[in-house]
């Protein structure tokens, strides 16, 4: 069976030689086409999560590895396949202020793709499509169309971007921090719309974020990236409520919950020493990348890189603390997520 999306050992390196930065480090993942799911890709700034999204969208070419959409290598698509891919894979980006050209009315955001993908045969039909898409995200067309971006709030602009994406009837939505610049009070509304689109239209979503609270609420599965590698992945409930990898534990411990009984900061933030960083650089791939910051680092963490171990059912962690569990081959991460999906629905 072909997968909707598959990342095969995707690596993206920026720069060369001593200055090379490995942004995405051999990440494999697949999403099944008949089981729409929402997978969160989480990590701190610089963890490679946005780069990963950019490669899936075809904006960046992986240095090594392949990205396949419905079994076809995105890099080797012919014109027709490329058009289909461009229509079916849609994006919502972080900054609702930067995704508009201020000189044009917001209508253009919808008219362009309708013309490009020949979605309507008349003006009237185009208008209907636009209104339908706006209604789906809970915006009144009369209040939105004919206006300029600066006349709308951040929340309205971000919902318009989501409306533009659904206009194209996508199969996959890459949402890169879609609510991080929107007021907390409006976040819930936008996330609920994305969740609804998933439930009602069967759209799969890659939700890229540094915000674990929203990831917890919207997604089924989560993969936590650290310096381009998966450190923990699986059932979002398990990962957020009882993280096992020391890095995920620090991330979760740093969430500012709006709950006075859940105080943040039980774990100290360890700044890596110069010696440890040099040691990490010298060790190359024969070392756990998190060792310099890890409060539980053991000698062996400096000797080899931990594979993904099953910490419990439905969850894996790249950490030797869990080596009693069986290992999960990298390319089986998709299987882990799709098993979760079976369980929940």
């Amino acid at each position: 069976m072909t997968h909707l999306l598959e990342l095969r050992n995707v690596t993206k390196v920026f720069g060369e030689g001593a200055k090379a930065t490995v942004a995405v480090d051999e990440v494999s993942l697949y999403l099944e086409s008949d089981k729409p799911s929402i997978i969160a890709v989480a990590g701190e700034s610089g963890s490679g999560k946005t780069t990963m999204g950019m490669t899936v969208l075809g904006f960046l070419r992986p240095t090594r590895g392949q990205i396949l959409y419905r079994g076809i290598d995105v890099d080797k698509m012919n014109a027709d396949q490329s058009i289909t891919y461009r229509r079916e894979v849609q994006a919502v980006f972080q900054d609702p202020f930067a995704s508009y050209n201020p000189f044009y009315k917001v209508d253009r955001l919808f008219e362009k793709p309708i013309a490009k993908f020949k979605l309507a045969s008349s003006q009237g039909e185009a208008r209907e499509l636009i209104e339908e898409a706006l209604n789906k995200v809970g915006l009144r067309p009369r209040e939105m169309l004919g206006r300029f971006p600066h006349q709308l709030s951040g929340g309205q602009r971000q919902r318009l971007v989501v409306a533009r994406a659904i206009l194209l009837n996508p199969q996959l939505l890459i949402a890169d921090e879609p609510v991080s610049m929107v007021d907390a009070s409006l976040r819930a509304g936008i996330l609920e719309k994305i969740r609804q689109l998933h439930d009602e239209l069967g759209i799969s979503v890659l939700y890229i974020t540094h915000d674990l609270t929203t990831a917890y609420h919207i997604s089924d599965g989560i993969m936590v990236l650290y310096q381009g590698s998966v450190v923990e992945a699986g059932d979002v409930d398990k990962v957020i409520k009882s993280p096992v990898h020391p890095y995920t534990q620090l991330l979760v411990d740093s969430i500012p919950w709006a709950d006075l009984t859940l105080k943040w900061g039980k774990q100290p933030i360890i700044e890596p020493t110069e010696e440890d960083l040099a040691r990490l650089a010298a060790a190359g791939t024969a070392c756990c990348k998190y060792a310099p910051r890890c409060p539980q680092a053991m000698p062996r963490c400096w000797e080899s890189r931990p594979p993904l171990f099953h910490a419990d059912s439905g969850r894996v962690a790249a950490c030797f603390l869990y080596e009693s569990g069986t290992t999960l081959e990298k390319d089986e991460l998709g299987g882990l997520f799709s098993a979760l999906n079976n369980g929940s629905s």
């Binding site: 700034s45 309205q156 907390a184 819930a188 609270t213 006075l260």
Partner: protein
């Protein structure tokens, strides 16, 4: 609260923007006391006037904005009565600000050390070159950055480090009042915690008071002692962090808190109905009534007063009557 303990007293502050479309009342009649050693949160949605209030207090409002009325007492000094030059000296020495997106305000071609020294030298503290240099290094110590950062350029630093450099510049002269306007809005959770912990330790060491402005109620819950909730240019509720998070009185505060994701209610999305009103045309009566689930007949006619009880808890809502809270 002890009267002598007040670090900053704001009285009936009004800030207006005179625009082509009319007068935008961004801050209308805000009053509060900030105590020494206190961390007060100022929360509200975008456009509620919280950043304008901060800029107003710093006297940094640009045309067409103007502080049209109000007093801000730092000890025996009313900031609005100071001359331009006196105010310039007070900024940094007595009241410091870490503005939103501060990390993008560093000059890319000047070493970090010199950017800190510039601020110190400008305040004519009578320090020698060596002393200035030492103070700059101490400022880096105070925000827990290694001293080698002094010789670096901004592009060599991460976002969190740049934000801490900005805090070091703002706080190098140990002001008694620190206004932090969304100091961590672009940072990830670990860096955010690190920056907030740094600001918190600095505040404790210098016995200063902090106003933390932001819309992230979670950050407020973790960091502040007292919360002031602002809506459409007015304070609608003020209480201790415990009161606000466990027993919010104003319906707007209640909605703000229920819209936050918690661990308990996965997949439940609550948003506040409607959008914030235009500050050009405020609704009649209570400014929140068009969005309020508990609105009554009186709410669109009469503006509620911000009542205060004996412990200093304040709320402006008709639900709690005119005689104050029960």
């Amino acid at each position: 609260m002890n009267e002598n303990n007040v670090a900053l007293r704001v009285k009936d502050l009004h800030v207006h923007y005179d625009t082509e479309d009319g007068v935008v009342k961004a801050v209308s009649g805000v009053s509060f006391d900030l105590h020494a050693n206190e961390r007060m949160g100022l929360v509200g949605e975008s456009g509620c006037g919280k950043s304008t209030m901060a800029l107003g207090l710093m006297r940094l409002i640009k045309e067409p904005g103007e502080v049209v009325a109000g007093e801000a007492w730092l000890g025996d000094k009313n900031l609005f009565a100071l001359s331009y030059e006196e105010m310039r000296m007070a900024r940094g020495l007595e009241i410091g600000m870490i503005p939103q997106g501060a990390m993008n305000s560093l000059v890319p071609v000047i070493r970090v050390k010199n950017q800190i020294i510039d601020a110190l030298a400008d305040h004519k503290l009578g320090l020698s070159k060596e002393q200035l240099e030492e103070r700059a290094l101490e400022a880096l110590d105070s925000v827990e950055l290694p001293r080698k950062v002094a010789e670096m350029y901004p592009h060599e630093l991460s976002g969190g480090m740049k934000q801490r450099v900005c805090a070091a510049i703002s706080l190098a002269m140990r002001p008694k009042v620190i206004i932090a306007d969304e100091p961590t809005s672009a940072l990830d959770v670990i860096t955010q915690r690190q920056v907030m912990e740094t600001i918190g330790r600095l505040q404790e060491r210098t016995n200063s008071a902090v106003i933390l402005i932001g819309h992230d109620m979670g950050l407020q819950a973790q960091f502040v002692n007292r919360v002031a909730v602002m809506y459409a240019g007015k304070l609608v509720e003020v209480g201790t962090v415990k009161e606000i998070f466990t027993d919010a009185l104003h319906p707007y505060t209640q909605l703000l808190i229920s819209s936050l994701p918690t661990l308990g209610s996965k997949g439940v999305f609550v948003s506040i109905p409607g959008i914030a009103p235009s500050l050009l045309e405020l609704p009649s009566g209570c400014v929140f009534h068009p969005r309020c689930p508990k609105a009554m007949a009186i709410c669109n006619q009469e503006e509620p007063v911000l009542h205060s009880d004996s412990s200093g808890r304040r709320v402006s809502c008709h639900l709690y009557g005119n005689g104050g809270m029960n």
